[in-house]
């Protein structure tokens, strides 16, 4: 049934993962080094896998025969429940790394809590995702340290990236309707912030980067109010599927 809060929550988790996977997929073949082509592809594949598990769960809860592809390709922008951070453009490699570090450090805290939560399916998805997410935190933290500590240019670019994306971090830790409805089986986002900040502070210190201090706090992604970037992302992602409605691929 559609009013089940698990349905919206599953879509929220799936949309975060899919939108970020879509961003990462665009790097494949264009990364700074061959090893990073492979590494970024791994991140994209992990997130895509998580998205598919969550869409499958949403489909089951809804029980109307919609599939993962109906959710991914045939919903409009205002139906997507991903956080604004995930849809931000790739920018340079530093921006992609900063975005990924913020997101995966958040996701690590979230999945840790969900894995111990009362909903067996979310717990299973989160436990499986957690192994991947830990690697994502390591991958992006290692790069943030290399970039921050590397050359004067890379330090400046890493600082700019961390600063530019910082405002979008706040939404991750604020309760929106989807979180409030999920309080019986999912952690309150606010409760995840201290674990996130421990990871963040340790990594920024090692990377010799300043803590960002911008107090602009854009929000709305979880309620379907997105930045201008998402509609372009979806237009590209959905174009072929929508040109052939009902087709099987």
């Amino acid at each position: 049934m559609a009013n089940d809060p698990r349905f919206d929550y599953a879509l929220h988790l799936a949309d975060n993962a899919l939108v970020l996977a879509q961003r990462l997929g665009a790097w494949v073949g264009h990364a700074p080094e061959l090893e990073e082509d492979l590494g970024l592809a791994n991140l994209a594949l992990d997130l895509l896998g998580q998205a598919r598990l969550c869409y499958a769960y949403a489909a089951e809860i809804e029980g109307r025969g919609r599939t993962e592809d109906d959710f991914a390709y045939f919903r409009d922008e205002d139906e997507f429940r991903n956080c604004l951070l995930c849809e931000q453009p790739n920018g340079d490699f530093g921006h992609t790394i900063a975005r990924h570090f913020y997101f995966s450090a958040y996701q690590q805290a979230l999945y840790t809590a969900l894995a111990a939560g009362p909903d067996a399916r979310f717990a299973e998805i989160a436990a499986q995702g957690l192994r991947e997410t830990r690697y994502h935190v390591r991958y992006s933290a290692n790069w943030l340290v290399r970039l921050g500590d590397g050359t004067a240019e890379s330090h400046a670019r890493a600082q700019a990236a961390v600063d530019t994306l910082w405002p979008y971090v706040h939404e991750l830790f604020e309760s929106a309707a989807v979180d409030r409805a999920a309080s019986a089986f999912a952690p309150a986002p606010e409760s995840l912030r201290s674990a996130f900040e421990r990871t963040l502070e340790a990594t920024l210190a090692e990377a010799t980067l300043r803590m960002p201090s911008d107090d602009w706090q854009p929000r709305g992604g979880k309620d379907g109010r997105h930045s201008e970037h998402l509609s372009y992302l979806l237009a590209e992602m959905q174009s072929l599927a929508r040109a052939h409605p009902g087709a099987r691929w």
């Binding site: 700074p32 082509d37 390709y73 890379s154």
Partner: protein, 331 residues
């Protein structure tokens, strides 16, 4: 696959400069199907030939990520998107093993990459064709990976050990890609009219380029013999091309697609399909840099390399600082 340019490059045997006894022992080992390993003595020309061939193959894997990568963001289902990302990732992995195999011959990856970016090194001309529709991603897996397998299975027995071993792993993945590509085409051919047209369009565009992947006809390719004596190459271009055509035509029939060659016919006496004449002027133009996408492919590689420079420099600088810090701690 990917080794077509070799036949046009020309060889010298190099034996004159090398000690005749060593050369004789080397050839005896090759004849006995012994593997030559990096530390073994080898003729200079053998080394140069291998470096050129392996590098060309590696570059082809890397440039080959681009045409299919073009559809990652638009793949029409999540399942297909995951398969495509993993496939393009595999090709990158093939590039990485092959650069490592070339490094065992004493040439750094950086040097080889510079040769690719400067335009001095060749890569397979097939990747200079555009992927205009989703079906092209299927046609590449089916035809291009399919042609690659024909070329590469014999390379698993290549006399040079590291290359042969890299090819074993690569071939396993290429045949997986070939099956996935074919399965993609099958889904289109069993789909709507529009999907089937898309599949036929892709076959029309990729058939001849795939047939040309095996390189010039044996009549025009004078340099096959030395490579065969060295057991780097086991079959001639035309022999491999014939295997590919024989293998692929029935698959097209099963899909219900038409091969864009009005002269194609089955010869019951030989048991082989005979194809019509190949337009070698098109092949020559693409090899010389004037295919539909040569410039874009190289530009994309150069852009990635240039835009990634600060990242590579940062990694190197950080590693050097770490080494200094560790040394200071040890003191």
């Amino acid at each position: 696959m990917y080794t077509q340019g070799l036949d046009q490059a020309g060889y010298d045997t190099g034996y004159a400069q090398d000690d005749a006894a060593l050369a004789q022992r080397f050839q005896a080992r090759v004849d006995a199907e012994d593997k030559i390993e990096p530390k073994d003595w080898m003729p200079d020309a053998y080394r140069r030939t291998l470096v050129r061939q392996i590098a060309q193959h590696a570059h082809s894997e890397i440039v080959g990520m681009l045409p299919e990568g073009n559809w990652i963001t638009r793949a029409p289902s999540l399942r297909r998107k995951a398969i495509l990302i993993a496939k393009v990732q595999d090709e990158g992995g093939h590039g990485a093993y092959l650069y490592s195999a070339a490094e065992t011959l004493g040439v750094a990856r950086e040097t080889l990459v510079d040769q690719l970016l400067s335009g001095a090194a060749k890569y397979s001309s097939i990747f200079n064709y555009p992927t205009l529709t989703w079906a092209d991603a299927g046609a590449i897996g089916w035809l291009v990976d399919g042609a690659a397998i024909m070329n590469q299975i014999p390379l698993c027995r290549c006399s040079y050990g590291p290359y042969a071993r890299a090819m074993v792993r690569i071939c396993r993945e290429e045949s997986f890609h070939q099956r996935q590509g074919y399965e993609l085409m099958l889904a289109l051919c069993r789909g709507t009219e529009a999907q089937k047209n898309m599949a036929q369009g892709a076959l029309n565009r990729w058939w001849w380029p795939a047939v040309m992947m095996f390189g010039p006809s044996d009549r025009d390719s004078k340099h096959t013999t030395q490579s065969q004596r060295w057991k780097i190459k086991r079959f001639t271009n035309d022999e491999l091309r014939q295997k590919f055509v024989d293998f692929t035509v029935p698959q097209a029939e099963f899909l219900g697609l038409t091969i864009p060659d009005p002269e194609l016919r089955f010869d019951a006496d030989t048991g082989h399909y005979e194809h019509g004449p190949i337009d070698w002027s098109e092949f020559d133009a693409v090899v010389k840099g004037n295919g539909p996408c040569n410039r874009e492919r190289l530009a994309a590689r150069r852009t990635a390399h240039e835009e990634g420079r600060w990242v590579r420099e940062a990694a190197a600088a950080h590693a050097a600082k770490q080494a200094l810090r560790r040394a200071a701690e040890a003191r």
